[in-house]
Amino acid sequence: MKKRTILGVRACTWVWLIMMGLTLVTYLIGQLGLGGISASLTVLAFALIKGQMLGDYFMGLKRISGFWRWPVVIWLFLPGGLISVAFTLVG
C-alpha cells in the first residue's frame, strides 16, 4: 500500500508536528501573559485548527462523504462559537 508522503515524510507525521507546534505557541502565549480578545481568539483558533486536523487526518474523516463528514466539524464550530461569543462579550 502506497503511503502519502510530503518531502519523504508521512502526511500524518506532518500533521503531528504542526499540532505540536501550534500547542507550543499556545503555551508561549500563556506564558507571556497575553490576554484579551485578540490573544484568546488566536489561541482558540489554533485549537480549532488542531481539532479539524485531528478529525480530518487522524480520525480519517477527510475521505468520508455524506452525514458522517460533518459531526466533528459542527462540534468544533458550536463550542468554538459559544466560547468566542462569551470571550468577545467580556472584552
Partner: protein, 193 residues
C-alpha cells in the same frame, strides 16, 4: 478495454458505527460543559483569571504533547494493521498507552498538589469547573486506555488482519475523541483570559 480505478465514496467513518454514536454523545456533553464554563466566566472574569494563574501550565503542556503524540501513535497502529503488520500495530498501541499513562501521572500529580492546598470543588466557581471538567476528561482517558489495551491484547494474539481490523479502528476513534476534547480544554482552562 482500459481498466479505470473509480474511487468509491466512503460513507461511514472508520470503526464500528456504534462507537461513533457514543462519541457524538460524549462530544455533546463536553461541548455543553465548555459553553457553561465560558458563559459562567462572564459573570466572574476576575476570579477566573486569578485562579487560572494558579494552575500548572507546564504540566498542561506536557499532557497536551502526550495526548497528541499518543493519537499519532494510534494512527500508526491503524496503518500497521492495514499493512497486515500485527506486531507493528501492537508496538504502536503500547507506545500510545505509555503516553496515556504519562498523562495520568502528570494529571494525578496536579490533583495531589491541589488537594495538599485544600482545594475542593466547593472552593470557588473556577475550581468547580476546572476540577469537574478535567476529572471528567481524566476518566475518559482511563476508559480509552482500557479499550486500547484490549485491542493490543487481541492484536498480539493475531486477532486482526489487513482485511479485518474494525476493532482497531473503533478503539482508535474513541482515543482520538479523548484527544480532541483536550485540544479545546487546554487553551480554554489554562490559557485563555
Amino acid at each position: 478495454m482500459q481498466a479505470q480505478a473509480v474511487a468509491e465514496p466512503i460513507r461511514y467513518p472508520p470503526g464500528d458505527l456504534a462507537i461513533w454514536v457514543f462519541i457524538l454523545a460524549e462530544l455533546a456533553a463536553f461541548g455543553a460543559f465548555f459553553g457553561a464554563y465560558a458563559f459562567t466566566r462572564m459573570q466572574h472574569v476576575e476570579l477566573f483569571n486569578h485562579f487560572q494563574a494558579t494552575l500548572d501550565r507546564d504540566a498542561a503542556l506536557i499532557n497536551t504533547f502526550a495526548l497528541i503524540t499518543s493519537s499519532y501513535f494510534v494512527v500508526r497502529a491503524v496503518a500497521s494493521i492495514r499493512d497486515n503488520n500485527s506486531q507493528g500495530c501492537v508496538r504502536w498501541l503500547m507506545a500510545a498507552l505509555v503516553m496515556g499513562a504519562l498523562f495520568l501521572i502528570v494529571k494525578a500529580q496536579e490533583y495531589a498538589h491541589h488537594i495538599d492546598e485544600g482545594i475542593r470543588l466547593s472552593t470557588n466557581t473556577f475550581y468547580m469547573f476546572y476540577l469537574s471538567l478535567t476529572f471528567f476528561h481524566f476518566m475518559h482517558v482511563i476508559m480509552g486506555m482500557v479499550i486500547l489495551a484490549a485491542v493490543a491484547v487481541k492484536a498480539k494474539r493475531g486477532g486482526y488482519s489487513a482485511t479485518e481490523h474494525t476493532g482497531v479502528e473503533t478503539g482508535a476513534s474513541y482515543w482520538h475523541m479523548v484527544d480532541l476534547v483536550w485540544l479545546i480544554l487546554f487553551p480554554l482552562v489554562y490559557v485563555m483570559k
